[in-house]
Symmetry: C2
Subunit: 339 residues, 2 copies
């Protein structure tokens, strides 16, 4: 037993981390990975000194610190023993968002709240720029206990992720298909979500003759959304098309629109107002990602939206408990007057 335990202590002499702290961290890691448990005997002080060429005092400093934190107890004349079944390690979390939009606040707040005092969270943004993405991760390697990442949707992010220890990576929001089950994740299943949300609103959609998706290109909107949309339309035999940029002349009565960015939504509603088309009667509007204001835009916009608070909470749960799950975040259709 001690033999195995000894090997769990990793000392790198030239690290900026003090040796006694490296010992402490090793014990925490061993507890987290459940390779030691309450009651196990710790390797003796002299054993560690010899094996790692450490000063006796260095080991004692570490053990004293562990004892004062309640992780180990000492039995004079016998040795040190693990005193706790698990340890609330201090998590230092690298949270990499794509960009700063209003619903990110929901994810972040929920995440932070769940993490609470158990860790410190630092936020970064890559703005879908691969160079920034790589630099941020490269700079941060070794500095965090967990890396929660909204990836850029491209194969080219993989080499840089390989530099991070695999068991510290968590994938957030998108990248479900890109990474499969390679990392723990809380993601949307964009294709299924859109498909299911549209299905659940078939009674509303049926009122219209055609369903147009306003999908700006190039954009960072997940491609899978388009696939889910197309699958739905084909399946129920709905007339549909995909518009790259909305303009007023594309607005027609008895047509419904599925819109993703706020800018297009604003244009769409303004055009409708100009022609005195009433959303929900003359035209239909479904918007993506819900915000409080959308409930009063025009006379209320129907939205397809994932639950961002749930997303933040689930991710915190994964990180805190080192779970390896692959969670699909819930998504639903929120019915309002615009359809």
């Amino acid at each position: 037993m001690q033999e195995r335990m000894i090997d769990l202590i990793k000392i790198t002499p030239d690290s900026p981390v003090p040796k006694y702290k490296q010992i402490i961290n090793s014990i925490y890691d061993a507890l987290d990975n459940k390779v030691v448990e309450k009651g196990n005997k710790m390797p003796s002080i002299n054993e560690l000194c010899r094996k790692y060429n450490l000063s006796r005092d260095t080991v004692i400093t570490a053990f004293n610190e562990l004892q004062s934190r309640g992780i180990v107890t000492s039995q004079p004349g016998k040795g040190y023993y693990i005193a706790k079944p698990s340890a609330d390690q201090h998590h230092h979390i690298f949270l990499l968002f794509d960009n700063l939009t209003s619903y990110k606040e929901d994810i972040y707040s929920a995440f932070r709240e769940e993490i609470g005092r158990k860790g410190k969270v630092e936020i970064y943004f890559h703005h879908f720029n691969l160079k920034i993405f790589n630099n941020l991760i490269e700079d941060s390697i070794g500095d965090y206990t967990a890396y929660v990442i909204m990836p850029i949707p491209s194969k080219s992010v993989e080499p840089i992720l390989d530099l991070i220890p695999k068991d510290k990576i968590y994938i957030l929001d998108r990248g479900r298909r890109l990474f499969g089950r390679k990392f723990p994740s809380v993601c949307q299943n964009f294709k299924e979500d859109v498909y299911n949300a549209l299905r659940s609103g078939s009674d509303l959609i049926g009122k219209y003759q055609k369903l147009s998706m306003i999908f700006p290109e190039p954009s960072n909107i997940p491609r899978d959304i388009k696939r889910g949309f197309e699958r739905y339309c084909k399946e129920i035999g709905m007339d549909y098309d995909i518009i790259q940029e909305f303009s007023a002349d594309k607005l027609a009565k008895n047509q419904a629109y599925l819109v993703f960015d706020d800018k297009s939504l604003v244009k769409l509603v303004q055009s409708a107002q100009a022609l005195r088309f009433v959303p929900g009667r003359d035209i239909g509007i479904i918007s993506y990602n819900d915000t409080p204001l959308k409930s009063v835009v025009a006379t209320g916009i129907t939205t397809i939206s994932t639950d961002f608070t749930a997303m933040g909470k689930s991710m915190a749960d994964l990180v805190l408990n080192r779970k390896k799950d692959h969670i699909i975040n819930p998504c639903s259709l929120i019915r309002r007057n615009s359809m």
Copy 2:
């Protein structure tokens, strides 16, 4: 290893460039030429003093600057270590927001865009919690070249700010009255802004019999807004009151409402819709802080708003050029159908 590193520092005593800057440049060169890498130990302060006949203070000045640029980290009792794989950015900016609301996105994007490749921006949120505020700043001291801060409106933030070098602090958005001309700033003048915006809209406001401000308490909305509002109403002899929480029964015809938070705005618009009161005819609505969606809420909400993009740009200009200005950010009334 240290031996080689020592030689990488070139000091020419008679050069016009200060010695501490020569040290900094040497480290940059070493990083550029990849003769040092992340995690390498720097030669100790005393070592450099002896070897190059430098004052200890000179070396420390250089190392502190490197640390605040994020190039090195220090561990008391051990030494200084290279913290980045490569270095090109000379500004390392600590950006502390109060919370994440939609218009923060505008400030941040504009700020980031102006900073460009000249620096790295790290963003934090204090949520008006003094403890978080203090912890975030305390933890960050010495790690950044500039601290851009949206303060908590309270005297109690001053002691912690005193710990930051005075010439690295910039005040953003609020705190104009709290700090006066103590730090460079880009702030709103809430009292004047509201007063002037209301004055410029007197033709619209005159249509209504009463002007009600919906001002939730407690809240983090600047108190000065209330003062500007009261001053305007008294000056033109307008009947007015201040409502702490809006409820449907408080909605009355021929009355105008000045509303600050999205939650109250949503309630207000929904109540109006329920009673079939048309904004701009039966009731008036003015909302604070513009977002794209507000142009299509109901049939368009009139807003009083500062220019958040300008705010971000101005702040970037101050930081990049180390200007000491005190800028009042422009604010105006944006006329739409709701008044």
